[in-house]
Amino acid sequence: MKGVFMIAKQLSVFLENKKGRFTEVAKILGEAGINMTAFTVSENSDFGILRLIVSDTEKAISVLREHSYGISVTDVVRLRCPNVSGALGKAMDRITQNGIFVEYMYAFSEGDTANVIIRPDNLEKCVEVLGE
């Protein structure tokens, strides 16, 4: 059983490690009517990088820029596969067999569908491999 995939735009927001920073981002996006589909945080003692998939990327960029956030936009692979055991393993196997390194990944589910966000070191090749 083969998964379907697409290229998604991911937003990364630089956050200083202090109280209330995430709350503020959530509030700004909420007030702009933007929905967070998925997110993950990578952090160290100084700062965090909040990575987001949102309902309206362009609008999210503009409201966050207005509020002086440091952001970057990255193309990532969004893989949708059935929410059953073993489905993700096959896709991952194909990626790693082809020498593609995954910088990071995170997952969320929508009903019967599992969604995996993959940030490969080589997006082009990853797309090619998954499309075969």
């Binding site: 630089f14 200083e16 160290n44 700062f47 440091g70």
Partner: protein, 432 residues
């Protein structure tokens, strides 16, 4: 060269001349200035103790506060009837610094400016627009007298009224521009905005000074105005602009040491440092009558080089001013100047030109944190890349200042922007 005898004098001859002149100025100060006499008596020395230029280290230092304490005319060493001009520097705090010139002092000042202008390639055929402020500030009249002295044509614009500056510079075909480097940049931008093609201007030389500037600013000025941009150095306490200037080699500022004797001392111990080493610049006026300065501490940090310059001048060369000794911090025993930190941050394209330093002492060890901001294009989704930027700037700072600071990347616009003099340092150490 304006004065080849002086500018190319052998080191041996120069030391001899400096020795003779030092003996004279010390005698003059001792006998005619109660201030210097008292200072020398306190150190138990008389003019007889000063025989050669090497004896200069026996003399007391003079500092800016001495000029304030003796406001307005307490440091004059001639009757006021001999003083033909006064200048003053405003100073942002306290009383102004006042200086008085005899006719001969003005002649020496003119001589200094003339040597600078000639070194920049300016001749009597050239017209020079003087856009330093005229008045109590030494810039305007100092440059003015120098241009007249070499027989050039002065365009005495003073500062301000930028549109008119550009129009007259264009219409009069000014070959040279004398002003502060920051005003020159402003003029350059205004010329570009005006739409007048640069080819219609005759400008080819800039004499810029009265504030510290960088190699990057030079590059920018030379590109934007199609000129050669030269440093002119000076300070009111010594005479004004013209204490020294660059030559065509642009490899250090020649100081006219037959009149203004420079020393470099360690700002903490006040002991002389070896030639070529950085420290605080100290001047003794060797020929000044009105208000001689003995070992005046400029607070400017630089280094001196005594090798003969490629231009043929033997006159000692000074590095660009690195900063002010008043701003110096001692962190883990290392002298750190905010200007060094600033220079590193400015040269790295990934970082905004804003920073804030926090120094503290934890468990008897100094901590040194620098807050920086990234430029918009350098934020990344990858933690490794962000950490690599921190490492890059910390490594660069380590190689320049000798200690490794802790770097904290801040959110955009969270560091206070400079309005005039920005506050860059917070020292939380309580020493006692």
């Amino acid at each position: 060269m304006w004065n080849e005898t002086a500018e190319k004098m052998s080191r041996v001859e120069m030391r001899k001349l400096q020795s003779t002149r030092l003996r004279n100025v010390v005698k003059h100060a001792y006998h005619n200035s109660p201030f210097y006499r008292r200072k020398m008596q306190e150190m138990d020395i008389t003019p007889d103790d000063i025989q050669s230029i090497d004896d200069i280290v026996k003399l007391p230092f003079t500092v800016k506060q001495d000029l304030r304490d003796n406001y307005p005319f307490g440091l004059m060493a001639v009757p006021m009837s001999e003083i033909v001009r006064l200048h003053a520097s405003s100073g942002t705090t306290g009383k102004p610094i006042v200086v008085g010139y005899t006719r001969k002092d003005l002649a020496v000042w003119k001589e200094g400016v003339s040597r600078c202008l000639t070194a920049y390639g300016v001749t009597k055929d050239d017209s020079i627009q003087v856009s330093y402020g005229y008045g109590l500030f030494t810039g305007g009249l100092g440059a003015h007298d120098g241009v007249e002295n070499i027989g050039g044509t002065v365009i005495p614009m003073s500062s301000g009224n930028t549109q008119k500056q550009i129009q007259l510079m264009h219409d009069f075909g000014a070959k040279g521009l004398a002003c502060t480097p920051s005003y020159a940049l402003f003029l350059a931008e205004t010329i570009h905005e005006s739409g007048i093609p640069l080819e219609e201007f005759q400008l080819r030389v800039g004499a810029f000074g009265a504030e510290p500037w960088t190699e990057n600013m030079r590059k920018e000025l030379e590109e934007k105005l199609h000129i050669k941009a030269y440093d002119i150095y000076g300070l009111t306490e010594i005479c004004g602009p013209g204490v020294g200037g660059e030559c065509e080699c642009q490899d250090g500022t020649h100081l006219w040491e037959d009149h203004f004797f420079p020393e470099i001392v360690d700002p903490v111990t006040l002991q002389p440092v070896e030639p070529g080493k950085q420290g605080e610049l100290v001047f003794t006026t060797l020929t000044k009558e009105g208000m001689p300065m003995l070992r005046y501490r400029t607070r400017d940090l630089t280094a001196l080089h005594y090798e003969t310059c490629a231009c043929g001048r033997t006159a000692v060369r000074m590095d660009r001013i690195l900063g002010r000794s008043d701003d110096m911090l001692i962190i883990r025993g290392v002298n750190v100047f905010p200007s060094q930190v600033e220079a590193v941050i400015l040269e790295l394209p990934e970082f905004e030109p804003h920073y804030f330093m926090i120094i503290d002492r934890v468990n008897n060890t100094d901590t040194f944190l620098i807050q920086v901001e990234l430029r918009p294009d350098y934020y990344s989704d990858e933690m490794n890349r962000m950490l690599a930027l921190k490492k890059k700037i910390a490594d660069r700072l380590l190689s320049v200042i000798g200690i490794r600071p802790e770097i904290k990347i801040m959110e955009p616009h969270s560091i206070e922007r400079s309005q005039g003099k920005a506050k860059h340092v917070q020292d939380n150490r309580k020493l006692l």
